[in-house]
């Protein structure tokens, strides 16, 4: 340990010997770390599991009611459409098999604040069932979600998110307050704590990294308020839709359907239920494609939805290669620096430093450069991610957490090692006698 501390001291002393060169090397590693850490962070956030504790029991429901002759995705003909029609979603919501279940979609309304100082504004609203809050473990700051009775009636209750609560009520407990949406007053029954599932797995269509909706309303207001989807709507039939009733009865697909199935038995029972439903529908002339009802857990669904763009993966690889190039560029500089110190190493070898000790001393010096570069790189990463957040208006969405800081430091150690192993190996193999100038 004493020798290690001594070698560390020597490393810092060596860096101070030529501060400009040392600073250049630190900056080179720092840039590599900044780019790679930012890319790894983006990839990590994009590809992370948004609900690890339940991702294996939450299932996205897919029924294949697409064109009889063409699969929904010609590249992956085994896949079914990601969304359901209103009539199918509401029909399978009758099942009592799942622990929790919700059909849901994103609508858009005009909200009229009570405060005369605030102007009416358009807001995205998630139409969903009461189970939505339970199955996705949505955190509440005040109050709760509504109950099943409120689903059925439906009752004029809503849940708002913390940002909306801040905007409308200054962040106070607004449970019990009312809010006019369209031409109707709704009572606020719950206020969410800050909640930002990343990606937005319950509806990754559109912007999978966007914010959740600011208001949540019972699904059964869909026909009452004649709500249309403001998200993706897909269809293949030539039906002409003239009114909301026609929209609801059409084969257009705009509803996401989620269920929680806690066991294999429960999952099989629900699969059987779906199959039976579709077979029944086939008799009515619907579902012309082969039976293909799918239950995808969260991570499989995100993978099939290709939530992580290919460009993000390419960017990750390129950024890591950039770091390697930065490290390789340092090899030559370090080699020159170390070899210029050969006479000193000769003296140290004569005085008792072993080859391995000289090697470790120099690798340590490279690791110090790596770690200093890592610190600089992480600081630059924070700036870069803040910049991206501002450019994309995503708030604090992209940020370095402890895992990423650890990953950044690990990368800096690896970069230091890549840069330092060869020069250190060369200097420790320098014959000491050659540089001692014995007569």
């Amino acid at each position: 340990m004493t020798v290690f501390v001594y070698q560390l001291r020597l490393a810092f002393k060596s860096l101070r010997r030529n501060p400009v060169l040392s600073a250049l090397m630190v900056v080179a590693i720092g840039l590599g770390i900044a780019v790679s850490t930012a890319s790894v962070t983006i990839y990590y956030i994009y590809s992370g599991n948004p609900i690890p504790q339940k991702s294996d029991v939450l299932f996205h429901v897919e029924l294949d009611n697409w064109h009889p002759d063409k699969p929904f995705d010609s590249d992956h003909p085994e896949r079914a459409p990601f969304q359901l029609s209103y009539r199918d979603a509401t029909a399978i919501m009758q099942s009592d098999v799942p622990t929790y279940q919700t059909a849901a979609f994103r609508g858009e309304f005009i909200v009229f604040p009570d405060d005369d100082q605030q102007r009416p504004f358009r807001e995205h609203i998630r139409m969903c069932f009461s189970d939505f809050f339970l199955m996705f473990e949505v955190p509440f700051q005040y109050g709760n979600g509504w109950d099943e009775a409120a689903d059925q009636t439906p009752e004029s209750v809503i849940v708002i998110d913390s940002e909306m609560n801040q905007k409308l009520f200054g962040g106070i407990n607004s449970v019990g307050r009312s809010l006019k949406i369209q031409d109707r007053y709704f009572t606020i029954i719950g206020v969410l704590a800050p909640w930002r599932p990343t990606p937005k797995y319950y509806d990754p269509t559109g912007d999978p990294f966007g914010k959740p909706e600011g208001i949540f309303m019972p699904f059964n207001f869909t026909p009452v308020l004649e709500v249309y989807s403001s998200g993706s709507t897909w269809g293949w039939t030539p039906d002409s839709i003239t009114n909301h009733e026609g929209y609801m009865q059409s084969e257009m697909l705009w509803i996401q359907m989620w269920v929680q199935l806690d066991s294999a038995t429960q999952k099989q029972a629900y699969q059987d239920y779906l199959d039976a439903y579709v077979i029944e529908q086939k008799k009515l002339g619907r579902f012309a494609r082969p039976l293909n009802n799918r239950l995808l857990n969260v991570m499989t669904m995100l993978e099939e939805q290709e939530v992580v763009p290919d460009s993000t993966r390419s960017q990750l690889v390129v950024s890591l290669l950039f770091l390697v190039v930065c490290a390789i560029n340092l090899i030559g500089i370090l080699l020159g620096k170390f070899l210029s110190r050969a006479p000193e190493i000769g003296v140290r070898r004569a005085l008792g430093a072993s080859r391995s000790s000289v090697f470790i001393q120099h690798v340590l010096e490279c690791e110090v450069i790596g770690v200093l570069g890592g610190g600089l790189g992480l600081a630059i990463s924070v700036l870069v991610l803040n910049l991206i957040n501002r450019m994309l208006s995503t708030g604090e969405h992209l940020h370095l957490d402890l895992t990423m800081v650890g990953a950044g430091l690990l990368l800096s150690l690896v970069a230091g090692l890549i840069a330092g192993v060869y020069p250190s190996w060369r200097i420790c193999h320098v014959a000491p006698a050659v540089h001692l100038k014995m007569q």
Binding site: T2, A350, L351, R355, A431, L436, K437, M438, Q439
Partner: protein, 243 residues
């Protein structure tokens, strides 16, 4: 202290083989003061490197302080250098960005000695060479003689049994050279074996025994008093040479 037998050292390049030492024998007793003389290229450097375990040889055996060091690993040789050998160089070879204290500290650091013991040893060594007041000076702030005194302090600080001095006065004026020689004699009188390379016959005569090298072979080896050869490694061609 030193027992070398049948040592052969050959330097090889692509086209040429140079026999730096050939069938070389040497025995040095503990506490002796040996001077080595010889023209440039005679093998003095090679001999000091081999004695100091800084280079390997092609053939022969070498016992240092009772331990066969013929085939040791790098780590083992480094350990022996650190514990048993002190080096003094013509060009001082102090590390320029370490102050006097830290320069003398180097061998003790590789020994893993606790800080308090190191400080005591360094202060003793500095006291021996008379430079306690210059402890915090950098080498560039010292005269040549003072730098060589620091080098002597660094060589003796670990209390080695053997000191190898390579032209220790080569870069010094006469007065400073005598100072350094007085210092080395004092170290030798305390029981440390001293092997010194020099070109100066006057300084060489201060040793208890002189060795003369020519073309990698021992051509004369006499005690100062008896002039009787101690080692039977004298090539016939030089048997009667008187250097």
């Amino acid at each position: 202290m030193i027992k070398m037998q049948e040592i052969r050292k050959i330097y090889r390049t692509e086209h040429v083989e140079t026999h730096a030492l050939d069938s070389f024998d040497l025995e040095v007793k503990a506490g002796e003061f040996i001077s080595i003389m010889g023209p440039s290229g005679s093998g003095k450097t090679t001999l000091l490197n081999l004695i100091g375990l800084l280079d390997s040889f092609d053939n022969g055996s070498y016992v240092l302080d009772g331990e066969d060091v013929t085939k040791l690993s790098d780590r083992q040789m480094s350990h022996i250098r650190n514990l048993k050998i002190g080096f003094i160089f013509q060009t001082f070879n102090l590390i320029p960005d370490l102050n006097v204290f830290d320069n003398i500290d180097v061998p003790l650091r590789y020994r893993g000695m606790p800080a308090r013991e190191r400080r005591t040893s360094i202060e003793e060594a500095l006291s021996t060479v008379g430079l306690v007041s210059r402890m915090k000076h950098l080498p560039t702030q010292l005269s040549g003689g003072q730098q060589q005194r620091v080098a002597v302090a660094r060589a003796i600080v670990g209390r080695p049994k053997l000191i190898l001095a390579d032209e220790p006065t080569g870069n010094l004026d006469t007065a400073m050279a005598n100072d350094i020689m007085d210092l080395l004699e004092k170290v030798n009188e305390s029981g440390t074996t001293l092997v010194m390379v020099t070109h100066d016959p006057d300084l060489a005569r201060r040793a208890s025994r002189q060795i003369h090298l020519l073309d990698g072979s021992l051509i004369d080896l006499k005690t100062q008093d008896s002039h009787v050869p101690l080692i039977n490694a004298v090539p016939a061609a030089f048997a009667n040479a008187d250097c």
